[in-house]
Structures are given as C-alpha cells and as structure tokens.
Symmetry: C2
C-alpha cells in the first residue's frame, strides 16, 4: 500500500485556505492535507512531520513565503514547494525561483492549474503558470525605461508595422533621424538582426 501524498498548506487568508482545502480534497482525495494559517506553525509542523509538498502563500504575517521557502528547503532539501500567490511582478518571481521553489501559481489561475502544478512538481518537474511565464520571459522593464521619450514613441510606431519612412513622415523629421533612433534603440536593447527590433516591438506592445 502506497503512503498517501502529504500536502502542507500555508495561507493566512482563511476563506481562501478553506477553498483550497475543498479543491484539493475533491481533486486529490488520496492526500493527507495539513492546513496552516500561520507560517511559523507550518514550519514547526513540517519539521516534525515532513510533507511531500508544500503550497505556500507569499504574503503572510510573521514570515513571508520567501523566507519560509528558504527555511523549509534548508531543513528538508527534498521537499517540493509551490508558491501560490497573487503577485505577478517578474522580480519577485525570479527571486523566488532562485530560492529553490519548484512551482509558481497565480491565485486567480484555474483550479486545474494548481492540480497539474502539484502533479508535475511531485514527479520532479517544475511548473510555472503560463501568464507568469510570459512575464518573466519578457524583457526587463528597466531596459525599456532606459529609452528616451522619442525612442519610445518610435518603438510604438514600429510595433504598428510602420517603416522608417512612414514614421519620419508622421513625425515631420528626416528618415535619417528615425534610422538613427532605431540604431540607438537596438543598441540599448542589445538587439541585432533586421527583424529583431520589430519582433521586440510586437512582443512588448503592452510594455512600451
């Protein structure tokens, strides 16, 4: 007889925690679920009763999910950890993945997103929910912000599939000016190849 998968939950929001328990009991009925609304209690419990996988909220009092991840991983290196949060900020996500978490799921994602995440992570894989994936693979906002106003403006025009000539005509400047700006933008963004700038512009419409 296989021992049941032990899932540790840590979320300070009681309503959400309740919903989470319901979902897991329904989706994965063969699990032992240990819910905690306090990260400290969760940590103490985990040390005495090592779970297979921990699902952690990020925003908790006393100790946040980041610190909890670190502590759990140092105590129980083989423990799988999935972060379940509302945050989508790339920087946060990157630092969390660096801390050794195995999964990252956004709270307003589909329920099955979490379930597939759990299954994938238990098998030794890594799971990052797709909208998050998009964010972290998108370029640093900081780099985009290093562009000047006009450069930014021109980048927008490029995203609209306009040629340098068209942009020049609209802005009442010389083509050469636009070409210079394109050059500068490409250099700042470390892009090369004739199409890479257009691709960048298309990929990052919403951030420009």
């Amino acid at each position: 007889m296989k021992t049941a998968v032990k899932i540790l939950l840590a979320d300070d929001h009681p309503i959400f925690l309740k919903g989470l328990i319901d979902v897991l009991q329904e989706e994965m009925p063969d699990c032992e679920i240990d819910p905690f609304s306090s990260p400290l209690e969760a940590l103490q419990f985990a040390i005495r009763n090592p779970p297979d996988i921990a699902i952690l909220d990020l925003d908790m009092p006393e100790m946040n999910g980041l610190q909890l991840t670190t502590k759990l991983k140092s105590e129980l290196p083989s423990l799988k950890i999935i972060i379940l949060t509302m945050h989508k900020e790339p920087d946060i996500i990157r630092s969390i993945l660096a801390k050794g978490s195995d999964g990252y799921v956004i709270k307003d994602d589909a329920v099955n997103e979490l379930v597939t995440a759990i299954k994938k992570v238990l098998k030794g894989g890594q799971f990052i929910s797709t909208p998050v994936m998009k964010e972290i693979t998108s370029p640093d906002q900081t780099i985009i912000q290093s562009l000047t106003k006009t450069e930014n403006n021109i980048l927008k025009q490029i995203a609209l599939q306009k040629s340098s000539r068209e942009i020049a005509e609209e802005l009442f400047v010389s083509i050469k000016t636009i070409e210079n700006h394109r050059n500068n933008i490409s250099r700042k963004l470390k892009l090369q190849g004739s199409n890479s700038l257009l691709k960048f512009a298309l990929d990052n419409k919403e951030f420009i």
Copy 2:
C-alpha cells in the same frame, strides 16, 4: 427589495453540474439557481419560469446547446445566454455567437472567468474567454492550410526569425527559391509590406 438573479443551468454531466452549483452558490449567493441535466427539461422550465441568464453546456443528449440557444432566444429574447463548454474550435464558436449567445467560456478556464462572464453579460455586455478570443480572431486555418508543405516549413523558419539566406542554407537550396516561396506565401495570405509576413508568422506560430 431587489429580486434575486435567476440562473438556469443545463449540463448533462452530473459531476460538473454539481461543481458548477457549488461555485455559483459560493460566488453569487444571492442567486436562485435552477440546475438541469436535461436540455428539454431546462427549456420547459425556462418557458414557465423565465430566468435572467442561462448557462448551457454544448454537448448534451436530445438537444445540443446550439439548438437550445436558438429555442430559448426565440421564446425569451431578452434572456442572456452563456455557453460553457470544452470546445475551442473557431467554427463552432463563430456559429454559436451568431446564434445570439452572449458569452462563451471554456470549461477549463478559471472559475472567476465564469463569474465575471455572468456579471458582464447581466450588465448587457458580451464575454468571450480570452483563449477563445485568440482563436476566433486568428486567421482562417483554411488559408494557412492552402500553403504547401515547403511553404509551411519556410513559414515556420520565418517565425524563428531566420533570414532567407539562413533558411536557404539549412534546406540546401538557393536563396532565390526561398525568396520565391516567400513571395508565394505573401500572395496566398494577401499580405503586403516587408514586415507583414514576419508579423504573421510570429502571430500564428501555433497554427503553422
């Protein structure tokens, strides 16, 4: 005192229907929910007790959601209808929206997707879940399928940001061949402008 919103449910899959009821009771507790596992029963009930909104599955015995939509709309023109299904086929979706449904939600979407859909539709709006939106706004598969194998292959390479020269080298053919194919592809897809082909390739990676 405002009368409660009356929601009619029709889904032949009992487990899913149960889950749906749970979710709605939790998310919208002020609703009167009338669940049916049979579309005929749902229709008969709706005529006697007109609901505000109907959430219908597509794949049902006796009568599918499409026919049900038509009948409901002819009996109760002001009734709002949301289709809740697993289908993502653009053709199906298009015909459904043509039949007068107000919303389209994929079953494996997030729960809140359905709730926001209900709210939006009740306010008189239309709601189509984002992955579906992507599909139906994407170009006709038929046009893409009119491309020959090599043309398709080349389009894939273009989507990978490769130049004609690079593609030619990989396929051991002349650059001219590739350029010819590009031309033919552009003509078939009715594209013009130097970047439109790349844009198309990038936009439709998954369909090529």
